[in-house]
């Protein structure tokens, strides 16, 4: 480390190294260290680039756990049916007290659809104007926590921004990840978005009521899903007709029992 110094008044000049560099050159000469041939020192570090997000996620998870709350991160492409599934869930899932963190780029349209069912809702608009973040990260979820009555909840459902890419990268402090996939999206999606499909504990295969009208090959989709994520639980459902929604609710109850066993299930805290 001794040879490294900065802002220490040394008057070396390395002006010839990078002035006038174009982006094109940069892509072409990755790996070229000629500009650093002398006077460099390598410092080994091993720092996860998402460490900051992951620390906040751990704090979120601890806050949930400390209050006996199970948190589920619900992800999908836009229009797959997350909000309708949540609406049906709030209608049917009696017992557990539910809070919802609603992530949306803009508008309160989804949050509005979920009001009136007795759940507490905290809206996180990620955008300013039209457009915004394409995912929720741990600090965004943390910012929503003061707006939920956490002491009176058993479960927090986090409706992520509709997107099959970025949400999969960000731990927000959830205990389990679920995905809504709709059969209008095509059988190959698990192979095109493997990180998303692989990250989920459960995949709800939604809009099954449309099966007679689509050339959708369910077996092919399931084979593709298994190739990417053999362990995922699969529930076939139609949020519109209600088919399969009870199985989804049962899965949620199971998550509460696993991650917040003392609440919402009739058992006592001393179990």
């Amino acid at each position: 480390m001794g040879r490294f110094h900065r802002h220490d008044g040394t008057t070396h000049s390395h002006d010839d190294d990078h002035i006038g560099h174009s982006h094109d050159d940069d892509h072409a000469d990755v790996g070229d260290h000629s500009g650093y041939g002398t006077g460099t020192e390598r410092v080994e570090v091993l720092e996860r680039i998402f460490a900051e997000n992951d620390r906040t996620a751990a704090a979120n998870r601890a806050d949930f756990a400390g209050r006996g709350i199970c948190a589920v991160n619900l992800m999908s492409s836009p229009g797959a049916g997350k909000t309708e599934l949540l609406r049906q869930t709030l209608r049917r899932l009696s017992g557990p007290r539910i809070g919802i963190i609603e992530g949306d780029i803009e508008t309160s349209l989804d949050a509005d659809r979920l009001t009136g069912f007795g759940a507490s809702i905290a809206l996180v608009n990620t955008g300013h104007g039209f457009g915004g973040e394409c995912h929720l990260d741990a600090p965004m979820v943390r910012s929503a926590l003061p707006r939920l009555p956490l002491d009176d909840l058993d479960m927090v459902l986090i409706e992520n921004v509709g997107n099959l890419v970025c949400p999969a990268e960000f731990d927000v402090g959830e205990h389990a990840r679920a995905m809504v996939y709709s059969i209008t999206e095509g059988e190959e999606k698990p192979l095109k978005y493997p990180v998303m499909f692989r990250s989920c504990d459960l995949v709800v295969v939604n809009k099954m009521d449309l099966l007679p009208y689509l050339g959708f090959d369910l077996d092919l989709f399931l084979a593709n899903l298994r190739a990417v994520n053999p362990a995922a639980t699969v529930i076939q459902a139609s949020a519109r007709t209600g088919d399969g929604v009870e199985a989804w609710c049962q899965w949620l109850r199971g998550q509460i029992q696993t991650h917040a066993p003392a609440v919402g299930t009739g058992s006592t805290a001393t179990d």
Binding site: H14, G39, V45, L46, V228, P230
Partner: protein, 91 residues
């Protein structure tokens, strides 16, 4: 700055390097560069022990016995591994 990016991270190295350059412009780090090392995704079969690289298709099955009880060995890296610090570069 040396960065490892695993195959299973949804990161475009050229875009990351470009953004790094934009961020560093007009700062003490102007002229610094990212050196990206791409890490292929690999799995080990819990049944037969064989190690398989995923290649282009994200199929998490053993290349030997086709078993799906596998563990991920690499591919999720997103790390800063080292810094090359140039003497006097900021003066």
């Amino acid at each position: 700055m040396h960065v490892q990016i695993g195959q299973l991270r949804q990161i475009v190295p050229d875009t990351l390097a470009y953004c790094w350059e934009l961020l560093c412009a007009d700062t003490a780090l102007a002229g610094s560069r990212l050196e990206v090392e791409n890490i292929p995704a690999s799995i080990r079969c819990r049944a037969c022990g064989r190690t398989t690289e995923l290649g282009d298709l994200p199929v998490f099955a053993c290349g030997g016995c086709t078993g799906i009880n596998v563990e991920l060995l690499s591919g999720e890296e997103f790390l800063v591994t080292a810094l090359d610090l140039a003497e006097g570069a900021n003066s």
